[in-house]
Structure formats: C-alpha cells, structure tokens
Symmetry: C2
Amino acid sequence: MGSKTTSKPKTNRTKKSKTKSGEDRYEIRLSGSGGQGLILAGVILSEALGIGDKKNVVQSQSYGPEARGGASRADVVVADGEIYYPKTMKLDMLLALTQEACDKYYPDVKEGGILIVDSGMVTQVPTKKYFGLPFTQLAREEIGIVMVANVISLGAIAEFTGIVSKQAIKDAVLARAPKGTEEKNTKALELGFSAARKLKR
Amino acid sequence: MGSKTTSKPKTNRTKKSKTKSGEDRYEIRLSGSGGQGLILAGVILSEALGIGDKKNVVQSQSYGPEARGGASRADVVVADGEIYYPKTMKLDMLLALTQEACDKYYPDVKEGGILIVDSGMVTQVPTKKYFGLPFTQLAREEIGIVMVANVISLGAIAEFTGIVSKQAIKDAVLARAPKGTEEKNTKALELGFSAARKLKR
C-alpha cells in the first residue's frame, strides 16, 4: 500500500490524546461531493464516539445558499464535557475527498489542524502539511466498490487522529453496514487503518 | 386507510404557511428507537427543505449521556433567513414512533406545536391534541416492509405541517432510496400523504 500513498506527512502532527493543548473539544469536518457517503460517514463516526467511546457528540449537516454547490459536508463536534455551541468554529481535522471541498473548507482548519485528502482527487493541496491517501482508488482496486471510500477514510481518520477507538469505529461501521456488506466494510475499514499506519511511518 | 387511523385531530392546527405567527424558524424532531431510520428520515427531510425548497436548514443528532438510552432522535431547524442558533429550543413539531420517545420529548414541544405519533406504538399520548397514524403497521401491511415506516411518516409530516413541498420530499426520498427500492419508497410516501389527508378531514 505504501507505493500508493502520494504524500508523506511533513510533520508528526498526530497525537494519541483526543485533544490538543488540553482543550476539551475537537471539531471534525468530512467533505467531498454528494454521493460519496459523507453524511453516513459522519453518522458512523458520531455513533462510534458517542455510543462506543461514551463522548458527547453533536453531528450536523447544513443546507443553505453556500451548500447548494457541489460540495457536501458533515460536521462532528466531540467533547468529554457538555457541548454548548454545536456548530464548528475552527476545525481540528478536515477530510476532503474532492478538490472543490478542499479549496472551500481548508480555510476553516485551525493552525496545527490535520488535513486529510484523497490524493487521487485533490491534486492541488493548499499546504505542505497534510496526509494524502488515494481513498477512492483504494476502494475501487482493493475492495471492488467505490462506495466504501468513506469507510476507508474513517479507518484512516482513526489512525491519524486517535480521536476514536478502533473497536468503537469497527462496531459502528458494522451496525450501519447493509446486510451482506459486513465483510467488505470491515475490510475497507482495516485497509484505512493499515494504509494510514504505513503513511505515518 | 381511514379505518386504520386511531385518533382524530382535536383541533385544526395544520397551517399551510411554513411558520406560525410569522416567525422565521421552524423546529422539527423525529424520534423513536434505533433502527427505525429516523436519522435517514432527518437527512431526507433536510435535503428536501434545503435543496428542493431552498430553505436554510441545520440537521443534527446528539449523542451524550441522555442519548444512550433506547430513544433515537434527529433534529431539523429550518428558516428562510440565516440560522444563528442551530440547536432546537422549543419544537414546532414532534414525531414520536415509540412510547419512550413520546414521553421523553413531548415536554420539548411548544404550546400549539404539532405532535404526530405512531398510534400502534404510542398508546398513552400525553395530550388530546395530536395526530395518530399506525405508521409501522401501515408499512408492514400496505407496503410489505416495516423499514419504510420512516418514509410514510415523512409523507404524513408534509401533509400535516405543510412545511415542505410534496415535490421536494418526493425528490429527496428518491435520491436516497437504495437502487431497486424506488417504487416501494414512493408508494410509502404517497401512503403517508393520503393517510394524513384522510385523518385531517
């Protein structure tokens, strides 16, 4: 898989602790285009964090003038304590599966925040500090269904950020996998873990 | 279908205007238990409102200590103008598909707000002013799949509240229906329209 990674992280910004600098709030945005399953990915990640890892989570989608372009997004705010303000303010982590989503949402990433892109889709990355994996290509070539690019991404997010436990994300993926697709979804998630682990080295 | 309705609305509280008393904000909660497809229903309703009807919409799920019981919920806030505060405060409309969800969330309904319950599941309704339809039973007996109770509910919500256009909700249901299930989902939605229309008379 290592040969498929198209960028190496320039700094070691992954931390195993769930928040940086002791702040009790972590903001995640999953973005791309409609049809890439990002809202479902947001729901799965939230269920993993909220039900599996027992955090407080608010997961949201907004639709408005700015949302009627091609870009689709799902936001997840997670904290140990209560979440008083449920909207994202400055992202700790952004996943961008398309160039358009990357261009649109990168400005919302806070300094030191983590950017994860689909390296096959996002060719002009606005920073040198990012993680790139070809999620869509991996889904097609390794699993045989493009649709699981979102699940591979969730595996990579778990590995890169350490924000969610692997057991919780596994359980949440399985709980939401349509009957008959459990095996492919599990395989996709594990591919996300391993591809990200190799890239981090 | 008329014979299947188990309660008549005691007052005519449905309005065709999108908000009551000219307020530019409408808060909806879809509630029940996990597995009833309420988050998907919230996503479909939001896409209908935001993409089809061009409203501003924030759709959210919360997971926290209070959410780890059996009750599941999805919240939708819709407005013509900008939504500054995305959390629900006082519900204009509550859908409750289980007794537990009805007991838990009815206190959040504002005075004059609309309560819609699954009359086969919610046997102790905390008010006399409500709409009751046996969504789960209708799904099983008329469509042949229990899983579409959420889509029947969406049809009833459109008919009872007038908050979302029927064309927009049809388009949104079809956009989210898994391949091969389009016909059953359309039938389920139209059953929701007609059952609610009969009950309103």
